[in-house]
C-alpha cells in the first residue's frame, strides 16, 4: 500500500480497537509504519480509546449508549436549526474560526457517538427473547437474532443508531420496531413455531 492511499479513518479506528481481520490488520499496520500521518492518527485514536475506557469506568451501569447517541444527534439538529435562525448574515466565503470549531465539535460528537454506539453493540444484553424447543429468537445488538440448531443465524437488522423497541407475544412472536433516517417505520417480526 502506498503512502498516498491512506486508509479510511474508520478502519484506523477498528485497527486501534483490535477489531480488524488479521490480513487487513497486517496491511494497515504495515502502512502506518511508513506513514507519519496515519501513525499519528492511530496514536490519537488509541489515546481516545484509553480515555473512553477510563471515562466509561466512572459512568453508572445500564446507560443506553445507542439512545444517548440518538439524543445527541437530535439535539445537535435542533441546536443547528436554532442557531441558523438567529445567525447574523455574513459575507460569503469569509473564514470564521467559530465555524471551524463548530465543525470540529460536531465531528467529535458524531465520532464519539459512533464509537460508543459501536461499543454498545458488542455488549448489549438481550431484552427480549422467545423460545420453543430448539428454535429461538432474541433481541441482539443489531436487531432480532434468529438461531437454529443447524448453526444458521438470521439477523433481521434494525436501522443503525436508532432506538429500537421490542415486544413479545405468548405465541412465540418477537417484534422490533424502529424509524429509519428517512422517517419510515419498519417492523421486523419473527414467529417461532
Amino acid at each position: 500500500m502506498r503512502n498516498e492511499q491512506h486508509p479510511d479513518v474508520r478502519e484506523l479506528a477498528l485497527l486501534a480497537g483490535g477489531d480488524l481481520p488479521w490480513w487487513r490488520k497486517w496491511q494497515l499496520t504495515r502502512h502506518a509504519k511508513g506513514c507519519a500521518d496515519c501513525q499519528a492518527e492511530l496514536g490519537a485514536l488509541k489515546d481516545v480509546r484509553r480515555e473512553f475506557a477510563r471515562a466509561a469506568s466512572e459512568l453508572p451501569a445500564g446507560l443506553d449508549w445507542q439512545r444517548l447517541e440518538f439524543e445527541m444527534r437530535a439535539n445537535i439538529r435542533v441546536g443547528l436549526a436554532a442557531g441558523e435562525a438567529i445567525r447574523p448574515r455574513e459575507i460569503a466565503g469569509r473564514w470564521d474560526w467559530r465555524a471551524g470549531f463548530a465543525v470540529a465539535a460536531l465531528a467529535t460528537v458524531v465520532v464519539t457517538g459512533w464509537f460508543l454506539g459501536r461499543q454498545n453493540r458488542v455488549s448489549t444484553a438481550p431484552v427480549a427473547s422467545v423460545q420453543a424447543g430448539y428454535a429461538m429468537a432474541q433481541s441482539g445488538s443489531e436487531g432480532i437474532e434468529w438461531k437454529q440448531r443447524s448453526g444458521a443465524v438470521l439477523t433481521l437488522m434494525a436501522p443503525a443508531a436508532r432506538p429500537v423497541s421490542y415486544t413479545v407475544n405468548t405465541e412465540g412472536g418477537l417484534s422490533a420496531r424502529a424509524v429509519d433516517e428517512a422517517g419510515q417505520i419498519t417492523i421486523s417480526h419473527v414467529q417461532i413455531d
Binding site: G151, L156, S165
Partner: protein
C-alpha cells in the same frame, strides 16, 4: 526465498481468495412476486451488501433497498414481506413490514431489508434468501396477499390505529393550535422516557421443574365500546416467572369475532406497572358466546441491566384489538388509552412513534405538515 516464506505467501493468497469468493448479494436474494400482484418489482439496490466466506460459513450481509411500483388505482398504506432463509425456515417465520405508507397509484416506493444470514457454506449461485410479498393493504382497507403471517390483520390494525392517532393530533392542532400540539407531543415523549421497562423471556410448550407458584387472578381493565369482554383469568406466578395464563372471553358485539389480542400488564411490589406481552388468541365467537383461552407459555420477567427477577404483585389484562369474522378490526379509542395504568405502561403505536420521530428529528412544522398530508 525459503520454502516457509513461499508457503506463507500461498496461504495468504488462498485466504484472500476465500474471503473474496462471496456470492453476488443481488443474486443471493430471490424476489418472489406473483403475476397478479398489485405491485411491480422495480429493482434491488444492494447498497453496501456483501457476502463473505468465513471459515466454513457463508455470511450474507444484506443492506438492500427493494423498490416497488404501485400498479393499482388505490393508495397503498402498508406492505408485509415474508423473509425465508434456506435452512432457517424450520421452526418459524420472519417478516419485515412497512406500515404508515402513502403510496399513490403508479408511484414507486422503497422497502429497506437489512439482514445478516450466517450459515454453513452456500452452494455457488443458489439464492440464500427468498423475499415474498405476504400482504399489501390499501387505503380502502382492502387487502392483497397470501397472508401466511396474518399480515391482513396486523396491517389493518396498524392502519386503523394510525388514523386514530393522526386524528387525535390533528384535533389538538385544530382546537389548541401548534403550541397545544407541541405540549401534547412533549408530554408523550416524557412519558415514554419515564415508562418502566422489563426484559422478557418467553418460553413455549416448556416442561420444567417449577419453583413454588401460586395462582394469581387477573384484574381486567374495562375498555369502553370493546366488543369483547375479558370476564375472568388466572396465571401461575412465582417470584421469577408467570406461566400458563387462562382467560375467559365474552363476545359482547353483534358480530362474529375470530381474533382477540389482549395486553398483559404486570405490577411489581413497588406498584410500578410494566407491559409484559401481548396475548393473541384465534377464536370463533358468535355474538354473546364465551370461550376460554389457555396458553402453555412461561414469561420470565427481569429488571434491565441487573437481570433480577421482579416480584409480581398483580396482573392486569385489557383488549388491545379485535378482528371480526368479516375482517374488520376494532381498536381502543385514545380516551380509553388515557386510563392511568395504560397511559403509564403502554408504548406508542407505530404511527405515533413515527410522528414523534418526525417531531424529534425535524421539528413541529414538519409534524404539522405530515398531519396535513394525510387530511
Amino acid at each position: 526465498m525459503s520454502k516457509l516464506i513461499k508457503f506463507g505467501w500461498l496461504l495468504a493468497a488462498a485466504t484472500l481468495v476465500a474471503q473474496d469468493a462471496g456470492l453476488d448479494p443481488a443474486r443471493a436474494v430471490r424476489i418472489d412476486l406473483p403475476k397478479d400482484a398489485p405491485l411491480a418489482f422495480v429493482g434491488l439496490d444492494p447498497g453496501d451488501s456483501r457476502t463473505t466466506n468465513r471459515g466454513g460459513a457463508t455470511v450474507l450481509d444484506l443492506r438492500a433497498t427493494l423498490t416497488f411500483r404501485n400498479a393499482t388505482q388505490q393508495r397503498i398504506r402498508g406492505i408485509s414481506l415474508l423473509i425465508t432463509a434456506q435452512e432457517v425456515t424450520p421452526g418459524g417465520k420472519g417478516s419485515v413490514a412497512a406500515p404508515s405508507l402513502d403510496v399513490a397509484p403508479g408511484a414507486t416506493f422503497p422497502v429497506r431489508v437489512n439482514m445478516r444470514l450466517m450459515k454453513p457454506m452456500a452452494v455457488a449461485g443458489a439464492p440464500l434468501v427468498d423475499v415474498a410479498v405476504d400482504g399489501v393493504l390499501f387505503d380502502s382497507l382492502g387487502f392483497y396477499g397470501p397472508d401466511k403471517l396474518g399480515s391482513r390483520r396486523t396491517l389493518t390494525v396498524w392502519e386503523v390505529e394510525a388514523r386514530r392517532d393522526r386524528k387525535h393530533f390533528a384535533a389538538i392542532l385544530s382546537s389548541g393550535g401548534s403550541e397545544a400540539l407541541r405540549q401534547e407531543v412533549v408530554g408523550i415523549l416524557a412519558r415514554n422516557d419515564a415508562r418502566p421497562r422489563l426484559d422478557v423471556q418467553v418460553s413455549r410448550n416448556r416442561v420444567t421443574v417449577m419453583e413454588a407458584a401460586a395462582p394469581v387472578t387477573f384484574a381486567f381493565m374495562r375498555v369502553p365500546d370493546a366488543p369483547v369482554e375479558l370476564a375472568e383469568g388466572v396465571a401461575m406466578v412465582s417470584n421469577a416467572e408467570v406461566r400458563s395464563p387462562k382467560v375467559e372471553l365474552i363476545n359482547r358485539s353483534g358480530k362474529g369475532v375470530k381474533h382477540v389480542d389482549m395486553g398483559w400488564i404486570v405490577r411489581d411490589a413497588e406498584g410500578r406497572d410494566y407491559f409484559a406481552a401481548s396475548l393473541p388468541a384465534d377464536v370463533n365467537l358468535g355474538p354473546g358466546e364465551r370461550a376460554t383461552v389457555r396458553k402453555d407459555t412461561a414469561l420470565r420477567l427481569m429488571r434491565p441491566a441487573s437481570g433480577a427477577a421482579i416480584g409480581i404483585a398483580g396482573m392486569t389484562g385489557f383488549v388491545q384489538s379485535v378482528e371480526y369474522s368479516d375482517g374488520q378490526v376494532w381498536v381502543p379509542t385514545r380516551a380509553a388509552l388515557g386510563q392511568p395504568t395504560l397511559r403509564s405502561a403502554l408504548g406508542p403505536s407505530p404511527e405515533e412513534q413515527r410522528l414523534l420521530e418526525i417531531y424529534r428529528a425535524k421539528g413541529l412544522d414538519a409534524l404539522i405538515a405530515e398531519l396535513k398530508r394525510f387530511q
